[in-house]
């Protein structure tokens, strides 16, 4: 009997052992996910932290390790954000297709500020101020080997305008910058002629905008541009795209200039601390947007350079005019006066932002010094304003009431470019004066903006995407498609319309100053400050430049260091 029992036990043990081995070997290799960690970390453990940063980069480290830095053939880029698609007509996804080095436009925002030729060698406008002629380079081929002709350029632009046509249900975004009455191609002369409907002084900037990139419409017709980039002219060609995670690119063999790398790996590393560590351990050669806290750390590392640029990007807090509380001007004034923008920008975001109260950054010549801020930071004045208007806390719960209701505002905030820190700071300061504005952290802002599904919202915008801030004010023009706040002011509308077609630079400047002052007087929004973008890179590569426009990350200039 003893033998039987032990026989049964050993059989059972064997079966258990076999099934365990089968289960373990059945587990596939853990595919390296992006750096979002789910471990409830009990303690900071530097080793554990490096593990989570190194794990997502394990694939690329393995690949990079095969090529010594003397013959460096791969570029590894760690980015904070990725678009969900590669389709030019969807939201701002085109920015990424261009940033990855896949797409190019006719004109480029030069590194020193002015516009440079790109796919177009030169351009000029006729005396009617409406007819623009772009002379194209004659040596450009798409990545499938097809020549880029004037006809192809026209097809690409027409495709964009067709899909985004508001009358067909499109998002109308390109139309907000420029609409054309005709566009034609002359293949023999290599020119494209665009006749705009209205005078468009910032036309070079308009065609430099990322969604105007030139694609081979015919060659891309079998490509699902949501999941893969279309055929374009840039130095690199996309071979794989995993939404929110990574993208791989290879050299475009038909590019008209030298392309330094064989392969480019884009890795989404959402945590700034992880991007910093990726640079430090070499799994990334360059990283986009390092948080201010880590910049100081990296600058003391002699192998790493942080290239900062003060561009025209701002963080603005929109106020939803359709909200019953925010329709009250006294409340808006008090909100603006309760926020200590200087401290938030310099201390809370650690100088990631430079404080300024006006929509157009102070470093540009659009009248910052001529504007007056009617609602400077003054908590006591804010409290007095509310008390005098009878907006007080009647029931002792710490929240003031307006028209008998507690003032509670839904504050939508995205954790990107320190906007979550700004949101928390503002929420705390508003709570101090009796206004409840708890923040709601969200992943993507676009839907909240376009559906006006917020009371307060932090948004990040490049105010001068076309080299001129005029178009930025469409966010407050009545009934415009990108007026996400419901603001409506007839004086503003008239000034905006006059500004839009004005070719004379001095007159435009005057209009823009007036527009800013109207918004400030109305407390239409709260400007938090102007963002400093940065790109940090190791000494394995060189000629990285952080263009102030924020449009370009990977380009043909970046090459291995010798």
């Amino acid at each position: 009997m003893f033998k039987e029992v032990s026989m049964k036990k050993s059989v059972a043990a064997t079966i258990l052992a076999i099934s365990m081995v089968a289960a373990i070997s059945g587990c596939s290799n853990p595919a390296a996910p992006a750096a979002t960690t789910a471990a409830p970390a009990a303690e900071t453990n530097a080793a554990a932290a490096v593990e989570t940063a190194a794990a997502p980069a394990a694939e690329t480290t393995a690949a990079a390790a095969e090529t010594p830095s003397a013959g460096k053939t791969e570029l590894n880029v760690a980015v904070e954000l990725m678009a969900t698609t590669n389709e030019a007509s969807i939201d701002w996804d085109s920015w990424y297709v261009q940033r990855y080095g896949v797409a190019e436009c006719l004109v480029r925002n030069g590194d020193s500020g002015s516009f440079e030729p790109w796919l177009a060698e030169s351009w000029e406008v006729a005396d009617d101020n409406l007819t623009w002629t772009f002379k194209l380079r004659d040596d450009v081929k798409f990545s499938n080997g097809v020549d880029m002709t004037a006809t192809k350029v026209v097809e690409s632009i027409e495709r964009l305008y067709d899909i985004t046509d508001p009358e067909k249900g499109g998002n109308g975004l390109p139309q907000g910058y420029m609409t054309y009455s005709s566009i034609s191609a002359d293949d023999a002369a290599g020119t494209v002629t665009i006749v705009t409907e209205n005078p468009t002084p910032d036309m070079p900037g308009v065609v430099a905008y990322p969604w105007m990139f030139i694609m081979d419409v015919e060659g891309s017709k079998d490509i699902d541009t949501v999941a893969m980039a279309p055929i374009c002219t840039g130095p690199y060609v996309m071979t794989s795209f995993t939404e929110g995670l990574s993208s791989e690119l290879v050299r475009n063999e038909y590019y008209y200039d030298d392309v330094p790398f064989e392969k480019v790996n884009i890795m989404r590393v959402a945590e700034s601390a992880s991007r910093t560590m990726a640079l430090q351990d070499g799994s990334a050669d360059m990283a986009i947007n390092i948080a201010a806290a880590d910049q100081e750390l990296l600058e003391s590392d002699s192998n790493i350079t942080v290239d900062r640029a003060a561009g025209s990007r701002i963080c603005v807090t929109f106020m939803n005019f359709e909200n019953k509380f925010l329709a009250d001007k006294t409340l808006r004034d008090a909100i603006n006066m309760a926020i200590d923008g200087e401290t938030i920008a310099s201390v809370t975001t650690r100088n990631a932002y430079l404080y300024g109260f006006a929509p157009v950054p102070s470093s540009y010549d659009f009248g910052y010094d001529e504007l007056t801020n009617p609602t400077p930071y003054d908590v006591d004045a804010a409290v007095k304003l509310l008390d005098d208007a009878g907006i007080v806390d009647n029931d002792g719960d710490g929240i003031r009431e307006l028209n008998g209701e507690n003032i509670e505002l839904n504050y939508v905030v995205q954790a990107n470019r320190s906007m979550d820190l700004i949101g928390q700071a503002i929420s705390a300061q508003l709570a101090d004066i009796g206004i409840a504005a708890p923040i709601q952290l969200v992943e993507h802002l676009n839907d909240y903006l376009s559906n006006k599904n917020y009371d307060l919202i932090n948004a990040s915008y490049v105010t001068m995407p076309t080299g001129d801030p005029g178009s930025f004010f469409s966010h407050w023009r009545t009934d415009f498609i990108d007026n996400y706040c419901g603001y409506s002011n007839s004086e503003f509308d008239e000034t905006f319309d006059a500004m839009k077609g004005e070719f004379d630079a001095a007159k435009r400047r005057e209009y823009i100053i007036q527009l800013q002052q109207i918004l400030l007087d109305d407390s239409a929004m709260h400007v938090n400050g102007y963002f400093t973008t940065n790109i940090a890179y190791t000494n394995k590569i060189k000629d990285v430049f952080n263009n102030p426009s924020d449009f370009y990350w990977v380009n043909k200039n970046i090459k291995p260091a010798e």
Partner: protein
């Protein structure tokens, strides 16, 4: 004296019980003695290193980390106890019903619990919390939904163990109503085991709640909660590590103490326990 001997052999229980009690007292009383406000944000004091006026430094909004850790104890512990209570009551109730009535009721409850057990629990909790929206009540709901099966199965097995005993039949025959049977016989039978299981689970629940908060599904800012404080400190891991170290230490201490306390309670009830363990 007998009780002196009993105390000696239950040294672990005394030690960890006292520590657990201290933690509870700190959670309840200490906030009154904190010099700083855990929620108000004196922005200018942001990210100061530990030392001087701030024992554990300040966070990105200038709030004192030590104060927030102590207030966080209150939130973490009270929420864990609430979660525990919910799971205990819900799970035990369903388990007793299933065991007592048997038949279809038993089948339905047990199959539902099987489905819940088949899912990886934290993943399902994240999904539920994501759908319901991020706040503490929803996080507690989510974890309760994935955790009740354990208690239900435990309660059910304990009920089944005595259901067919003679004294139950005797009580039934002499006219006792179901509610009397449940109250008088079944409940006292399951209570010790279920409570011991709960005691050992405090640590697990606390970590689960901290995990959900870390991921953004639990408390929302500016509420001080350890899991969320860990999450906030991530960006500053290298430049301001105190943001993660102190909440991390707090979680470690509290979870360890409650785990060891639970072990000691279990040893108390378990007659087969090795006596040498209680040193």
């Amino acid at each position: 004296m007998k009780w002196k001997e009993a105390l000696k052999s239950r040294r672990r229980l005394i030690i960890f019980g006292t520590l657990a009690l201290c933690i509870l007292l700190i959670a309840v009383l200490a906030p009154r003695f904190m010099p700083y406000d855990p929620v108000k944000a004196p922005l200018k004091d942001a990210l100061q290193a530990p030392g001087g006026a701030h024992l554990c430094g300040t966070d990105t909004m200038g709030r004192d980390v030590f104060t927030r850790v102590v207030y966080g104890a209150r939130i973490s512990i009270s929420n864990t106890m609430l979660l525990l209570g919910v799971v205990l009551v819900l799970g035990s109730f369903l388990g007793v019903i299933a065991g007592f009535f048997g038949g279809t009721v038993d089948t339905v409850i047990m199959r539902v619990s099987d489905i819940m057990i088949a899912f990886p629990d934290l993943i399902l909790a994240i999904a539920i919390a994501g759908i319901l929206g991020p706040n503490m009540i929803n996080a507690i709901t989510a974890i309760a939904v994935v955790s009740w099966p354990r208690y239900a199965r435990l309660a059910r097995s304990l009920v089944l163990k005595i259901k067919n005993r003679d004294y139950i039949y005797a009580a039934y025959i002499t006219g006792s109503r179901n509610s009397y049977l449940l109250r008088q016989y079944f409940l006292p039978n399951i209570l010790p085991t279920v409570i011991v299981t709960a005691a050992t689970d405090v640590g697990t629940f606390m970590l689960s709640l901290a995990s959900l908060s870390f991921l953004g599904f639990g408390v929302q800012p500016p509420t001080p909660e350890w899991g969320y404080m860990l999450s906030e400190g991530r960006t500053y891991m290298q430049s301001a590590p105190w943001l993660m170290i102190y909440p991390g230490i707090a979680i470690f201490i509290v979870v360890s103490v409650f785990n060891l306390f639970g072990d000691a309670v279990r040893d108390l009830f378990d007659p087969k326990a090795d006596v040498t363990k209680n040193l």
